[in-house]
Amino acid sequence: MKFIDEYRDAKAAHRYARAIARMTKKTWTIMEVCGGQTHAIVKFGVDELLPKEITLVHGPGCPVCVTSVELIDKAIEIASRHEVIFCSFGDMLRVPGTGKDLLSVKAHGGDVRIVYSPLDSLKIARENPAKEVVFFAVGFETTAPANAMAVYQAHQQRIENFSMLVSHVLVPPAMEAILSSPANRVQGFLAAGHVCTVMGYKEYEPIARKYHAPIVVTGFEPLDILQGVYMCVKQLEEGRFEVENQYTRSVRREGNQPAQQLIREVFRVVPRKWRGVGEIAHSGLGLNPKYERFDAEQRFGVTLHTVEESSECISGLILQGIKKPHECPAFGTRCTPEHPLGATMVSSEGACAAYHRYRRLRVPEGTRIGQKS
């Protein structure tokens, strides 16, 4: 396919892998921030092409994974109300709260719908004036502009039966939390290309300087990731720590200014609790006072409660790049995608779920795939 297959070309991938191997002199640990990148790395086997000196660890950038149990419980509470049509991106539906997930709300007669855009939920609100339509706004900076637009339009068009349960998270504070941890082992980052398409990468420059960690804004296809690793390793080997842009076909340093303006208009920065990690200051978005009447938490008065997470689960260490999924004793036994213990197993883009799906077993030596024809 045009502009897809080109970035999955096996020969080019192997050329890049050889170039990385030639350049690598020391051992390096690099974190890809985004769950989409983790998924691509494990699905295509990108890390298998890298020299053993390079370890890729998997970052906190799966918004579904890091959405707190408390918020999911609130979502379930709201979605269970008979007057509510609850709209969500598809992959949130299977994420367990304390007792159940949104799919089971649907199975018990709740009106839970999958939408592809928050604006679809606005349309549902217009078409169902007697119902309360709630959108579960999950995501990083990537989905923030569209979510902000939905609230902005609801305000402009006075669609008062629409509200939003906001669970937005921000990337840079999470990266700083990882780098400032005493246990940190991450030496360089592949930043998330789509987040930077919206936000640009100016805000990463002070982080790279402060922590002496190179940051390469990277795309999502296998060749993007290999090129991102190449650029990151090159900086590490040369002792540089700059912000570089691999994903030039989409990202500018300033980002998408109108989108940023809209985010600032509708949202403000708030502290946010991350599943598996805990609360990080300034790491979330909440609605500005001007738009607070669209806040579903306020509208439905859902109660605040705190939930203890599984003590056995090491997802916090995985999200910070300190451990890898198969180092967890519960991996694949007491913790599976069907019965997840914590954040990194609950969504298909979580590191543990990706390892479970693609890496439960190693391929036997001498497998002859593709040799016959």
Binding site: K2, A10, G45, G90, D91, Y116, R357, P364, R368
Partner: protein
């Protein structure tokens, strides 16, 4: 669904026919060998590019019989109609079933009609059951699959599921993606008539190629190795999958099947398939290994190996 069958339905009705875990039961009756199967159709929307629920209800059951290596002969049809369904809609569906039956060479010989209250159905639900005759001695079943068998696929995957999804989600593409809905019996019978040693057949409906491969690997206690680069996916289908966050290997098809054949017959089977309009893009996608038992391994587009897993539940579109 797989778990439901394994844990509830299988044990409740346990018998040697059901234990085969095949698309239909193969029954010997007074010397005749018959295949018997049933399926229910609840597709929404009722009409979609490349087909409709009526055509699907005939072809789906015809194909399940074909996957037993049978010549489809007779179908039953049960219609569950929602009160208020326009007569015109029902007429279109019935016409379509009539045409599909004629094309597949089957007769609709018995049936039933029920009407349910408005709101208790989704327009039309259809159940069909089918009987086919088996005219050869081959034991076509997952349990006949052996290490060394070659795996053939009769064409590109993912079209039916994406055609439905595009209508549901209101997506439009440069050219319309049409369902691949088609009767497969004549192509399967050609393979058998030409003396190809077929060990197992499976149509790639719900759950797509990867579910079919996983089910067979588990039932046959073998490993399966396939090469992603050999699996044809049309550009527009690939594009739609990228946009929707779906993997074409898990998307449903209605005119695609895989055949497990003896290694010595692989090349000839491929030629026969490619000479048929429903197998023009047929290809060899992989082979059966002794181990790891019950696991499907896939060589990725950039040449690394990974597991091709069975999905639990439906594929859910991703956030980003």
């Amino acid at each position: 669904m797989q778990q439901l069958i394994e844990k509830l339905i299988g044990p409740a009705f346990k018998n040697p026919y059901l234990d085969e875990r095949h698309d239909g039961a193969v029954i010997k009756l007074n010397g005749a060998k018959l295949a018997f199967t049933t399926d229910s159709y609840v597709v929404h929307p009722l009409f979609f590019p490349g087909g409709d629920i009526g055509e699907l209800a005939v072809n789906g059951t015809v194909n399940d019989l074909a996957m037993c290596g049978a010549r489809p002969l007779f179908l039953s049809v049960a219609l569950i109609l929602e009160e208020g369904l326009p007569m015109e809609t029902l007429w279109r569906v019935v016409r379509s079933m009539q045409q599909a039956a004629a094309q597949a060479g089957v007769q609709l010989v018995t049936g039933d009609t029920k009407v349910v209250d408005k709101g208790k159905g989704d327009g039309i639900f259809i159940n069909t059951a089918g009987i086919g005759g088996i005219e050869h001695d081959a034991a076509i079943s997952p349990r006949s699959v052996k290490p060394g068998d070659l795996i053939l696929l009769n064409g590109d995957v993912g079209r039916h599921g994406i055609a439905i999804m595009a209508v549901r989600e209101g997506l439009s593409f440069e050219s319309e993606i049409e369902s691949d809905c088609a009767p497969l019996a004549h192509l399967v019978l050609r393979l058998l008539d030409e003396g190809i040693e077929v060990h197992c057949l499976r149509d790639l409906t719900r759950g797509g190629l990867s579910s079919a491969l996983n089910e067979i690997a588990q039932t046959a206690s073998v490993g399966v190795a396939i090469d992603e680069r050999r699996i044809p996916v049309r550009q527009d289908v690939q594009g739609a999958c990228e946009i929707l966050g779906l993997d074409p290997l898990y998307v449903a098809n209605e005119g695609r099947f895989i055949a497990f054949v003896a290694p010595s017959d692989g090349e000839r089977a491929l030629q026969i398939m490619q000479s048929d309009p429903l197998g023009q893009d047929a290809c060899l996608i992989g082979e059966v290994l002794g181990e790891p038992e019950g696991v499907v391994m896939l060589k990725s587009q950039i040449g690394a190996n990974r597991i091709l897993d069975m999905l639990s539940g439906e594929q859910l579109p991703r956030i980003c």
